[in-house]
């Protein structure tokens, strides 16, 4: 993947997480060994596609702990007041904001159309499958590893 695009994706994701969720992302340049990856209670997945001058898909995999944390920060409420529908909605909106913002940077002409984001519980989440992805981005957060996969031109 183009180094500039990789850098732009990292900057865009960091801006979204810091501005909206007060959550800092630390890019990781090597995938930790499996035994160091802890995901006690599973992952949520959000995906969004875009088509035009640039076409592709971005997929986000958030540990449930991180997803709950950003939802709490986003809504400004206590964790006990957050339900799963709100968490799934926040995860979906994260994909929307991140890729919408990314397209504003890489396609200022606005010819690329953003699809509608989707989110779900990632029951089939597998770190082994993601490790093989050439467009993998990994970020360390205080609430677990954020996995992002870019598939596209």
């Amino acid at each position: 993947m183009d180094t500039n695009l990789r850098q732009t994706i990292c900057e865009t994701l960091s801006e979204v997480f810091e501005t909206m969720y007060f959550t800092f992302l630390e890019p990781l340049f090597e995938t930790p060994p499996p035994e160091e990856i802890v995901a006690d209670d599973g992952y949520y997945e959000a995906t969004i596609t875009f088509q035009g001058v640039k076409s592709g898909t971005l997929s986000f995999y958030l540990p449930k702990n991180l997803a709950r944390g950003i939802t709490v920060n986003f809504l400004g409420v206590d964790e006990v007041d957050v339900n799963e529908a709100q968490v799934l909605d926040t995860v979906k909106e994260t994909a929307n904001m991140a890729v919408g913002s990314l397209l504003g940077r890489i396609d200022p002409g606005g010819a690329t159309k953003l699809g509608l984001p989707q989110s779900r519980v990632a029951a089939d989440f597998s770190t082994e499958a993601l490790r093989a992805q050439p467009g993998l981005f990994l970020f360390n957060t205080e609430q677990g590893l954020l996995w992002v996969v870019y598939e596209g031109e």
Binding site: E15, V16, T19, M20, T71, F74, L75, G76, A85, Q86, D89, T90, K92, E93, N96, M97, V99, G100, S101, L103, G104, D107, P108, G109, G110, A111, L114, L116
Partner: protein, 147 residues
């Protein structure tokens, strides 16, 4: 006199965040209406007096740009200022919105001060006669962009 506000966004959590931000801005709020897309927003406009619309662009069923086109073309609704709160931040999209008469444009991700600043500016422009007595003194805030 308070302002009736309509927020259109397919994300329920985003609507809640916008609502909380507007409530904290000091703008006197009368009724607060929520819609999940442009169609729902138009249905609300049919049955309620709305003073300002805050809308996303990328929504299912009917997006924000089509909502803006409809509002701008309607004799009944064209008085209502519409502010986009959206991830779609390309220059081309902003120019398209401007040509259709959008009152303000807020890019996601945003800080609450941006919504506050642009909302004040838009309301001041559209309802100057109501503001002198209704609005608290505006703080100095920075806006990313407004028209």
């Amino acid at each position: 006199m308070a302002f009736n506000i309509l927020v259109a966004d397919d994300s329920e959590t985003m609507r809640a965040v916008v609502k909380k931000t507007v409530e904290m801005s000091g703008v006197p709020i009368g009724e607060f209406h929520e819609a999940a897309n442009g169609k729902e927003a138009l249905a609300i406009l049919e049955n309620n007096w709305i003073d300002v619309i805050l809308s996303d662009i990328n929504m299912p069923e009917m997006g924000g740009m089509e909502l803006l086109r409809t509002v701008s073309a309607s004799e009944d609704y064209k008085r209502i200022p519409l502010i986009f709160i959206t991830t779609e931040s390309s220059e081309a999209r902003m120019e398209e919105a401007k040509s259709l008469g959008v009152a303000g444009y807020i890019k996601k991700p945003f800080v609450p001060e941006t919504i506050k600043a642009i909302l004040y500016e838009v309301l001041a422009k559209a309802y100057e006669h109501r503001l002198a007595s209704d609005m608290p003194h505006r703080d100095d805030t920075n806006s990313d962009m407004d028209f």
